[in-house]
Structures are given as structure tokens and as C-alpha cells.
């Protein structure tokens, strides 16, 4: 089933068109990767899905983005808070708050008053377990998260995002600050998480896209050039430009 569908999605930063009539469909409980050279609009596309671009002055968006069949760009769609709870985001740099591990995870819940105090322990535990950090951190829950390793920080950020129980996880180059080993571990984690979440990952790393994703989209200068099963795209690309890019003849 399609979790996210875009119809003729275009986006302008002032006079500059960063997305050009994008049409695609992300399938539920699969990992979809978006690849393409720097500046082609990958992050911009990702940030449409939780409407983070709203923060930037002069952004104009056209077209439709359906998430669970509701058009999130529609003028009547005003519940940004609900949208962002449903669509979690993991950023490029691991960026926990300078608070304890525990406080980081319950950060969103606490503000939303979603849970009783007594349930918090349980949620912290479940969130840490689902990112496979519980065993490492169960005795360090009240230590400052800034003392963790980069990989642990990134896992913690994922835990923080899933603590508010989203359906979708957007990941913008989640491994680019990590070493190859940590990268593989995060990829392993993503395979686990896709049982419960629809994952969209932006990456510069072609091997990562090939290894870790089920579907893949290739973008160039704001256009979606090709969208297919990852295996198809990496073994038999239909477009010459895709082929050039994945064989390394492009930037």
C-alpha cells in the first residue's frame, strides 16, 4: 500500500525551482532511498513530508502530497503538530539535546503530555530496545547524552523520534557522520525498524542505497529521473543518466 504519494510536486525557493513536478509513491513498511548528486533537491523533498520547509521564508509549493490519503499541502490541512508526530525525522548530524538519555527520549512525550509519569520508564525502555541501545545504556539513563559515542547518539536520536510513535521515519543522510562500521550497524537497525515503520532515507552513499533499501529514486537538478525497486535500478537502470550516476560517472 502507498503511504506517501506525490502528484506533480513542485517547490520554489523564491525564484529558484528546487523540485520539478515530482510524482512518486512510497510503499508502507519498506525502505525507500533517494539518491542523487549534491544540490539535486533530496533534502528539500524529504522536508516536504513533515513540512519543515514552512520555516523558510519565500518557499512556495505546488501539487499534492498525500499521506494516508490526506493532502498535507491542502489549505485546510492545519494540524502540523499531528503531521509531525506521524512523520518523524532523523537528521544528518546526531543531535541529542544536552540533557540526559532519559530526558531526550521523553522530550516530545513530556511536552505533549501524552503519557503518565508512570508509563515513561516503560516507553524509554521500549524506545531504547527498539534501537538496540537498552543493554548499553540501561545503567546510564541519567547521564548526559552528549557523552555518548556518535553512533550511540544517532541511535538515541532515532529512539527519540520513535518515542512519539510515528508511522514514517525520514532520515537525511543519517550515517554521513559515522564510520563504516557504525554505518553498517545503523543499516541493520533500519532493517529491523521497517517491520513497524515506513522509512525514507536520503543518502550520498550508493552502496548504502543498494544494500539497505527496497525501492530507490534517483534525482537530478530537482527532477525525479527514475524510481524503481532498488535491485532493478542498480542492475538494469532504464535511464542513461541513472546509469552514469550509479556507475560513478557523475559527481
Amino acid at each position: 500500500m502507498s503511504k506517501i504519494i506525490t502528484n506533480n510536486l513542485s517547490l520554489w525557493y523564491g525564484g529558484f525551482q528546487a523540485l520539478k513536478k515530482i510524482n512518486l509513491a512510497f510503499q508502507e513498511k519498506r525502505i525507500t532511498s533517494i539518491i542523487g548528486p549534491s544540490g539535486c533537491g533530496k533534502s528539500t523533498l524529504l522536508r516536504v513530508f513533515n513540512r519543515m520547509n514552512d520555516l523558510i521564508d519565500g518557499v512556495r509549493i505546488e501539487g499534492e502530497v498525500l499521506i494516508d490519503s490526506a493532502d498535507i499541502l491542502d489549505g485546510d490541512f492545519s494540524d502540523l503538530v499531528k503531521l509531525r508526530k506521524k512523520v518523524g525525522m532523523v537528521f544528518q548530524r546526531p543531535n541529542p539535546f544536552p540533557l540526559s538519555v532519559y530526558e531526550n527520549i521523553i522530550f516530545g512525550l513530556k511536552v505533549h503530555h501524552l503519557v503518565e509519569k508512570s508509563e515513561r520508564e516503560q516507553i524509554v525502555r521500549e524506545s531504547l530496545e527498539s534501537v538496540m541501545l537498552w543493554n548499553d545504556l540501561k545503567d546510564k539513563l541519567h547521564r548526559n547524552a552528549l557523552g555518548l559515542s556518535l553512533e550511540q547518539k544517532q541511535r538515541l536520536c532515532i529512539a527519540r523520534a520513535i518515542a512519539v510513535e510515528p508511522d514514517i521515519l525520514l532520515m537525511d543522510e543519517p550515517c554521513s557522520a559515522l564510520d563504516p562500521q557504525a554505518t553498517l550497524k545503523i543499516e541493520g537497525l533500519m532493517q529491523r525498524l521497517k517491520n513497524d515503520y515506513t522509512i525514507v532515507i536520503v543518502t550520498h552513499n550508493m552502496q548504502q542505497a543498494a544494500r539497505a533499501s527496497d525501492d530507490a529514486g534517483f534525482m537530478l537538478l530537482g527532477e525525479l529521473i527514475e524510481f524503481d525497486r532498488t535491485v532493478e535500478m542498480f542492475t538494469a537502470p532504464k535511464d542513461k543518466r541513472t546509469e552514469d550516476y550509479i556507475t560513478g560517472r557523475y559527481g
Binding site: 519543515m52 520555516l55 509531525r84 537528521f91 548530524r93 543531535n95 544536552p98
Partner: protein, 281 residues
């Protein structure tokens, strides 16, 4: 000239300049302490002045200054922080906000006697608060606002942009983001700025001259609508208006005044380093 020689010259010049900054301060403090410490006693700090202020203590002046400073922060801190939040988090970067910013920077440089006259016109006369602690505290608050706004804005701007992004991505509204993901991390800087500005306010004479300060009062103020004595003004009076007063009394009064500012500064440093340790990124 050889590079090492040049290096040495540059180093010496820079070092001397630093010395020039520090030396006068050391000299002033030294003079005050040398002449004043004999005048400091428990009685001096806690009793009313007697005998045309030549004897007794400076208790009412200390109390007056504490009242003024405390009340002024009650007005200036909330307003200053809210203005800073508006300017840093909400206001768009357009001509109007740039003008406001420019005005704030310039207001911070306006001479304090101008604030005194402004306070006299607005609070004492127009709003009919009379010469009172309220008028004085409001005048000090107005004088401090630009400093507090600037310091608060800087600390807000120092909170990484990512904190706001993460917060919004977790579904917090803009106000919740400011309240939970920005403000807590800006507080050390805001408090430091506020305390430093207060330390300055505690020592100013001009803003309180027309708005609150009394030459001599036989008893302590009973409400914020009373006049009060204040340390800087008291020091001015005993130094210029009262003949045959002991040198040590004057210097001891100066020492108390400097001591209050100094304590507040130390306090600011401690608060900052404490909170920083907890909320550092």
C-alpha cells in the same frame, strides 16, 4: 628587523596595553580598601546614620539600593526576555526590525542622566508616582532594558538552530519549541546579562537622583511609594555636602558599594558556570 624581534615588540606592546587596563582598577580598589576597611564594622552596616550622617551606619542606603535593584529586575527581566524572544525567534528581518535593533543598541549607550530626566518626566510627574522607590526602580528598569534585551538575544541566537528543527520535527509547536527547546539553553546567558546590568544599575546615581533618592531619612521606607536613600547618592552626599566627615567613613561607603557590584558579578559567573556545566552542548 628580525621576526623574533618584531614578535617580542608586538608581545610587549600588547602586554603593556593589558596592564594599562588593569592597573587603574587595581589602584582604585587598593585606595578604597586601604582607606576604607577600618570604617567597616557590623554596626556600620546595620545601623542608621547619626549626628548629621557623620556617625552611625549606612543601613538605610544599603536597604534602599537592594530594594531599587530588586524591584527594577522584576520589571526589566520579563519584558526584556520577551522582547528578545520576539526579536530573535519571531520577527522577520525587515526594515522595521532592523530599526528596532539599531535603536536598542543606541539606547544602551545613552547617558544615564538622560534616563533620570526621562524617569522624572514620565513616572514622577506624568504618572504621578512621585519621588518614590517605584519611580526609581522603573527608571533603572528602562535604563537596563537595552542591555538585557541585547544579552538575551545573543544567548538565544547561540542556541543551535538544530535544537529548533528537532523540536519542531517532534511535533512541538513554535511556542513549545521556544519554551522547551530554546529558552532553557539560553537561560545561563540571560541571567548573566541581567545580573551584570543590575550590578551597573546598583552603582548609578543619575537615574535615581530625581526619581527616588533622599538626602536623609530617619526611618526605612515602608512601601514602594516612599522615598529611599541609596548607596551611590549617599556616597555623593557625604563626599561633597557634609564637611568634617571621617575619611574612613567615605571610603567604607565606597567599599560597600563596590562590594555589592563585585558580589553580583561573582554571582553571575557562578550561575553561568553552574548552569553551563549542566546545559552545555
Amino acid at each position: 628587523m628580525r621576526t623574533t624581534t618584531k614578535q617580542k615588540i608586538a608581545f610587549s606592546v600588547l602586554f603593556l596595553s593589558t596592564l594599562m587596563v588593569i592597573l587603574p582598577v587595581v589602584f582604585v580598589l587598593g585606595t578604597i580598601i586601604k582607606n576604607g576597611w577600618q570604617g567597616i564594622s557590623w554596626e556600620f552596616l546595620t545601623s542608621m546614620p547619626r549626628d548629621g550622617m557623620r556617625q552611625g551606619g549606612i543601613y538605610p542606603a544599603i536597604v534602599g539600593t537592594v530594594y531599587l535593584v530588586s524591584l527594577s529586575i522584576v520589571f526589566s527581566l520579563p519584558i526584556g526576555v520577551m522582547a528578545a524572544i520576539y526579536l530573535n525567534e519571531y520577527a522577520r528581518d525587515n526594515l522595521l526590525t532592523r530599526l528596532i535593533r539599531l535603536a536598542i543598541v543606541n539606547l544602551a549607550g545613552v547617558s544615564s542622566v538622560v534616563y533620570g530626566l526621562f524617569g522624572l518626566a514620565l513616572f514622577v510627574t506624568f504618572m504621578k508616582f512621585g519621588v518614590s522607590i517605584l519611580s526609581g526602580a522603573l527608571t533603572l528598569a528602562i535604563m537596563n532594558l537595552p542591555v538585557i534585551i541585547t544579552a538575551s538575544r545573543e544567548s538565544l541566537a547561540n542556541v543551535p538552530y538544530q535544537f529548533r528543527e528537532v523540536s519542531l520535527s517532534l511535533g512541538l509547536s513554535r511556542w513549545q519549541t521556544i519554551r522547551h527547546s530554546v529558552l532553557p539553553f539560553a537561560i545561563p546567558g540571560i541571567l548573566t546579562g541581567a545580573i551584570l546590568s543590575l550590578a551597573r544599575a546598583a552603582g548609578e546615581t543619575a537615574p535615581i537622583l530625581f526619581t527616588v533618592a533622599a538626602f536623609y531619612l530617619p526611618k526605612l521606607p515602608a512601601s514602594i511609594f516612599d522615598q529611599a536613600m541609596a548607596l551611590p547618592y549617599h556616597l555623593y552626599i557625604i563626599s561633597t555636602q557634609i564637611p568634617n566627615i571621617a575619611v574612613k567613613t567615605r571610603y567604607a561607603t565606597a567599599m560597600v558599594l563596590v562590594g555589592i557590584s563585585f558580589t553580583m558579578n561573582i554571582f553571575a559567573v557562578i550561575i553561568r558556570s553552574r548552569l553551563r556545566k549542566k546545559k552545555k552542548w
